[in-house]
Symmetry: C2
Subunit: 297 residues, 2 copies
């Protein structure tokens, strides 16, 4: 199973490198490529490709979309790390994009990726026009103001303001925030993989719920790690959310209840897989990894 993940990762990395050819003006392509190709788990593209395979699709058809989603993910990292946002110096153990290329180029590299990613889908997908448009519609829905950006805005607006809200309100805000900031890219990955395999809208709806729960569990596990881990282990600054007055599930409910929530959400994920008749070692291992990061066995 580790072998399959390695094969997917290698294939995705090869294609990311191939799509992002350095050309004039070199700086912008180098800056885009820098963050896109930082070593990472390639979780989102793997989910896209694996979902396509689960439902009987040809994984080759999912590669352009999978890579586009990784590019979009890198874009969110570049702009989130900017001084006017989270002001982070390190990402995946390396200096952040603006630390290497300067703020202006980092801003433009993020902008360029937002156009480059859907262009990779239209340029390299060998799929009927109607399917390409269906993929793009999902992409636009989750990439923009209805998706990840909605989450990011709520994150910024509530910085340092959580103690003014009731616990119930805080929970609502957190759920909205994580649903968009984190789960939306998982929804996009899984749904587009399924669309490429020709899955119907009913199943797409169930996969969306799966992705939402997985994303929430993933985010809580991230918050748990942020409390229990070190810079060396994570490759990024530790405890920044707390410093910035950002609420996390662990600060709201404590480590034990956060673990409990991950336990519950991941079990619901297994439940949905079972109902859909999905057997996937890869998805099981991704869920297990979220459980392990949270200190669950």
């Amino acid at each position: 199973m580790q072998e399959i993940i390695k094969n997917y990762t290698n294939l995705i990395n090869k294609k990311l490198d191939e799509y992002l050819k350095i050309q004039y003006p070199n700086t912008i392509f180098e800056s885009m490529k820098y963050t896109v190709t930082l070593p990472g788990k390639r979780l989102r593209p793997i989910m896209c490709v694996e979902t396509c395979k689960i439902f009987g699709g040809d994984i080759e058809n999912a590669i352009p979309t999978a890579c586009a989603i990784e590019m979009l993910h890198a874009q969110t990292l570049i702009h989130d790390d900017l001084p006017c946002m989270d002001n982070d110096d390190y990402r995946r153990g390396k200096p952040t994009n603006h630390k290497v290329f300067g703020e202006a180029i980092a801003t433009l590299a993020g902008d360029a990726l937002l156009t480059f990613a859907p262009q990779v889908i239209t340029q390299y997908s060998k799929l009927p026009d109607s399917i390409i448009l269906k993929i793009l519609n999902e992409y636009f829905q989750y990439a923009g103001a209805y998706g990840v950006i909605a989450g990011q805005v709520i994150d910024i607006e509530n910085e340092g303001k959580f103690d003014k809200n009731s616990k119930a309100d805080c929970r609502k805000i957190l759920e909205y925030l994580h649903n968009h900031k984190t789960s939306d890219l998982f929804k996009l990955s899984i749904k587009t993989g399924a669309i490429i395999a020709g899955v119907n809208d009913n199943i797409l709806g169930k996969l969306e719920v799966f992705a939402e729960k997985f994303g929430f569990a993933f985010q809580i596990s991230d918050d748990i790690l942020d409390e229990t881990s070190t810079f060396e282990e994570l490759g990024k600054t530790i405890g920044k959310d707390k410093q910035a007055g950002k609420l996390t599930y662990t600060t709201l409910y404590g480590l034990d209840e956060a673990k409990c929530k991950v336990d519950c959400l991941t079990k619901e994920c297994y439940g949905i897989m079972k109902k859909l008749g999905i057997k996937s070692d890869i998805f099981s291992s991704l869920i297990e990894s979220v459980r392990q990061r949270s200190g669950l066995e």
Copy 2:
């Protein structure tokens, strides 16, 4: 003729307002809408709609694309005005986006527009899938690292460095810069308008040359205005390019030769229109306006 321009402008403004509905989280949509709906000439969407009409297309079909291009244009303004870029406080006589909404939201509003604009094309165009994809491919080509962003990167990289280059090199850099930073959105407007009307690739190529020349003339006329106008007339800070060590056609060649260049380029535009058998009061008036801004009668 002023009546037709007014009708186009009203139609475009109405649709921009309609497409950009304020919804939760309100801040992001308000920020996007703020810059998109600032009073402006709507030059690019008018060119898109008018080109569609010239070649016998239904202008209703061009409206979503025309509005998408205006949104993309607004996006470039929001990010260009950021402190890490041109650091401008005023745009079209009003405070720039980040002055009203803060840097973080302004950055995200630009990001959101980059996804929202092509989404408007797919969501509202009543055109065959193949045409929508053809429009999107043009959009991606001109909006990203191959287009306006390439121009912006070269602009940033050469700031304060022009005196190290020969005059011939400066001219080459300026032409590349304006071709991408300014002309590319005109190319996009005119070509997509023509595609919607069903124009063939041969004519598309000629329209691209027209847009390149028009864009260059437009940019030089802007530089001339920057030397000869006031804040009240332009609604933005005057002489900033010079202060920032940016080269313009007027600083390289002087006002008289710049005027001469506009004269030459606009006459070439008329020549292309004649060859293509295009009679358009709107295009003629746009060209005349560029000539007048440059002090040509």
